[in-house]
């Protein structure tokens, strides 16, 4: 038996929660034994014990703790929801499993039964086929029913492709595939064309006539003609003067030589093809001397031969050579010379043309500086840097000048101030000295009245 007094002595410890396990067991045994337990007293003591924490100086928890608790609660609710969903699914599955009939055990007997059923069904089918042959009218009615339904759905057209489905009140947006290609292509070209720029020059066949014709036919023809002036004027001069010296000195021939020399100097007149054509057609070649003009004039025709429709031989009328025999001999020599000149000139022209074509085929980057090149950018950057440097230097110079000026001005002001101070002190010392002198004079002077007046005035002035 547990004494009630002893139980009452345990209530305080029970309320504080410091009851030993043995006492706890004893108390629980007392309660379970059906004895009257002082619950009121325990309640009061528990209430008193719970008041202890209120005596502590209050402190506040971390402000973020509230949010942490909220987050934890949200997670908990989500977990609970998920668990509920899983439980519901499990319940559904269990319900479905209970509703499904249990599968029969597949035994040999069942198998034999099924085979028999199958045989019976085959027999029935054969019987039905024979019946259907007899009743054909019914079969023919079946297509009519199908036609009445008007269910004309083509299997090929039927599709689940949602791209072909047009929703009501919905304007389909055509995806600009072509635009995409147009956008994409320039980018590709820029990448692909750059390396092909140089090989594109190779497309110009130097040996073929076509590019040369293009150059001559266009406005560049005059330029090309001008460029050919030098070889045309120089080379014939050398060759022809040499050949003329070797030739016999006959009057007619000298005349002709003189006349031959003149056109040499006049060759710059043949700048354009028009002048050449005019000369070839209009020259009458009445004099032999004039006839020597032709080879010279013809040499430019090699330049423009590809343009001039008339052949060179046709341009040289045969009538001009019938006037004198001497002239014929000289003509023969001259013709040979002219042929050599022609060959030389043609070679030179070809070489010049090749050079020009090469020059034309060279990339434009040499003629015009490419701003995208790093070298150009570097140059520009350097120039800007130089400008900045010059500006900096200028600024520094001006700043130094200002500083110097300020320093000089400060020094001057200081000197002036010192001078002023010095003069002030000097003046005051002089005044003091004079006063002392006056005082000494006073002592020794006889005319004190006159001196007094002077002293007073002086004193008043400074004081």
């Amino acid at each position: 038996m547990i004494d009630e007094q002893k139980v009452l002595g345990l209530l305080q410890a029970k309320a504080l929660g410091c009851l030993d396990p043995s006492d706890e067991n004893m108390l629980s045994g007392f309660i379970d034994g059906g004895h009257l337990f002082p619950w009121d007293e325990l309640g009061v003591l528990q209430s008193v014990a719970s008041l202890f924490p209120i005596s502590l100086p209050l402190e506040l928890p971390d402000p973020s703790l509230k949010d942490k608790i909220a987050l934890r609660l949200i997670k908990l609710t989500e977990e609970i929801r998920a668990q509920k969903i899983i439980e519901e699914e499990k319940q559904r599955q269990s319900e479905v499993e209970t509703t499904l009939p249990q599968e029969q055990e597949f035994t040999e007997e069942v198998f034999e039964e099924k085979i028999e059923e199958y045989e019976d069904s085959e027999e029935k089918l054969t019987e039905q086929q024979s019946e259907t042959e007899e009743i054909t009218g019914i079969i023919t009615e079946i297509p009519d029913i199908a036609e009445e339904n008007n269910f004309n759905m083509d299997v090929e057209e039927a599709t689940f492709n949602l791209d072909n489905v047009v929703l009501p009140d919905y304007e389909s947006i055509n995806t600009p595939e072509t635009e995409f290609d147009q956008i994409a292509q320039p980018g590709i070209e820029t990448f692909t064309e750059k390396p092909i720029e140089e090989p594109s020059v190779e497309k110009l066949p130097i040996d073929t006539v076509a590019p040369f014709e293009e150059l001559s036919t266009e406005s560049s023809f005059t330029d090309s003609a001008e460029s050919f002036e030098e070889p045309l004027t120089e080379t014939p001069q050398f060759d022809k003067t040499e050949t003329l010296e070797e030739l016999p000195t006959e009057t007619s021939f000298t005349d002709s030589a003189e006349s031959f020399e003149e056109p040499l100097t006049e060759t710059p007149q043949f700048d354009s093809a028009e002048t050449l054509e005019d000369l070839s057609t209009e020259t009458s070649f009445t004099d032999s001397a004039e006839s020597f003009e032709e080879p010279l004039t013809e040499t430019p025709q090699f330049d423009t031969a590809k343009q001039s429709e008339e052949p060179i031989i046709e341009s040289m009328p045969a009538e001009t050579y019938t006037e004198t025999t001497e002239s014929l001999i000289s003509d023969h020599v001259l013709v040979e010379q002219t042929e050599t000149i022609k060959e030389d000139v043609s070679e030179q022209i070809q070489s010049n043309v090749v050079q020009e074509v090469k020059a034309a085929s060279e990339p434009d980057s040499e003629k015009y500086p490419d701003l995208t090149k790093r070298s150009v950018a570097d140059k520009m950057f350097k120039a800007i840097e130089q400008d900045f440097d010059s500006l900096k230097q200028h600024y520094e110079k001006s700043e130094a000048k200002l500083k110097r000026g300020l320093l000089v001005s400060y020094i001057v002001i200081a000197i002036l101030f010192l001078l002023l101070v010095f003069s002030f002190f000097k003046l005051s010392s002089d005044v003091n000295g004079l006063l002392d002198k006056i005082k000494s004079m006073k002592k020794n002077s006889t005319s004190s009245l006159i001196e007094k007046k002077n002293i007073n005035s002086f004193y008043q002035f400074f004081c």
């Binding site: 325990l42 309640g43 928890p61 971390d62 609660l73 908990l76």
Partner: protein
């Protein structure tokens, strides 16, 4: 709205999963409970964690808490004490059973007498000075033994062993201390 409600009304709302009621309860009780838990665990960080656990537990198991006595303050204080002491013991690696739902129901949730006098935090805070005086009227030995029992969670025999005094002395000190506080508070009209 929730701030005007009594503690019991707040618990009723929490029972219906009203998160604002829980927030109001936190705003009202967190300083007292945090101070109390911190006194037990002697670490503000652990005290925060324990306090959070307590409020999660309130949210989850309000229905299991008994409010027939109309003393939610005593329930919360005992709940915090049990949780804080359990955390402290687990941190000290004492042999304790696994923390399960059943363990929580058995050892963490408070079991107060149905006849515990009704009380409210607002009323207790009004009588705070009187309570402090009643506690300070105890002798230093009584205060120390009570603090070892209540805040450190030591049993009577553990206190006797710690202080190297007879068990009966500890028991008598605890008995006398609680009875004197009860009498003093009863004189002031506080129970």
């Amino acid at each position: 709205m929730t701030t005007e409600l009594t503690d019991i009304e707040l618990f009723k709302r929490i029972l219906n999963k009203d998160s604002k009621a829980l927030e109001a309860l936190y705003d009202r009780y967190s300083p007292v409970l945090f101070t109390f838990i911190k006194r037990i665990v002697n670490d503000p960080v652990i005290a925060d964690e324990v306090l959070a656990d307590v409020f999660v537990l309130i949210w989850q198991k309000t229905s299991m808490l008994n409010f027939e006595h109309q003393n939610p303050y005593a329930v919360l204080i005992n709940l915090c004490r049990n949780k804080a002491l359990d955390t402290l013991r687990r941190l000290k690696n004492t042999d304790l059973p696994e923390y399960t739902g059943d363990y929580e129901d058995e050892f963490i949730l408070p079991k107060l007498s149905i006849h515990t006098p009704p009380n409210d935090l607002s009323k207790i805070l009004l009588n705070r000075e009187k309570i402090q005086i009643a506690i300070h009227n105890l002798t230093e030995a009584q205060q120390y033994v009570v603090s070892l029992a209540y805040y450190d969670g030591l049993t009577e025999s553990e206190i006797a062993a710690k202080l190297n005094i007879p068990l009966l002395t500890v028991k008598s000190k605890i008995r006398v201390a609680l009875n004197s506080i009860k009498e003093n508070l009863a004189k002031e009209g506080i129970q």
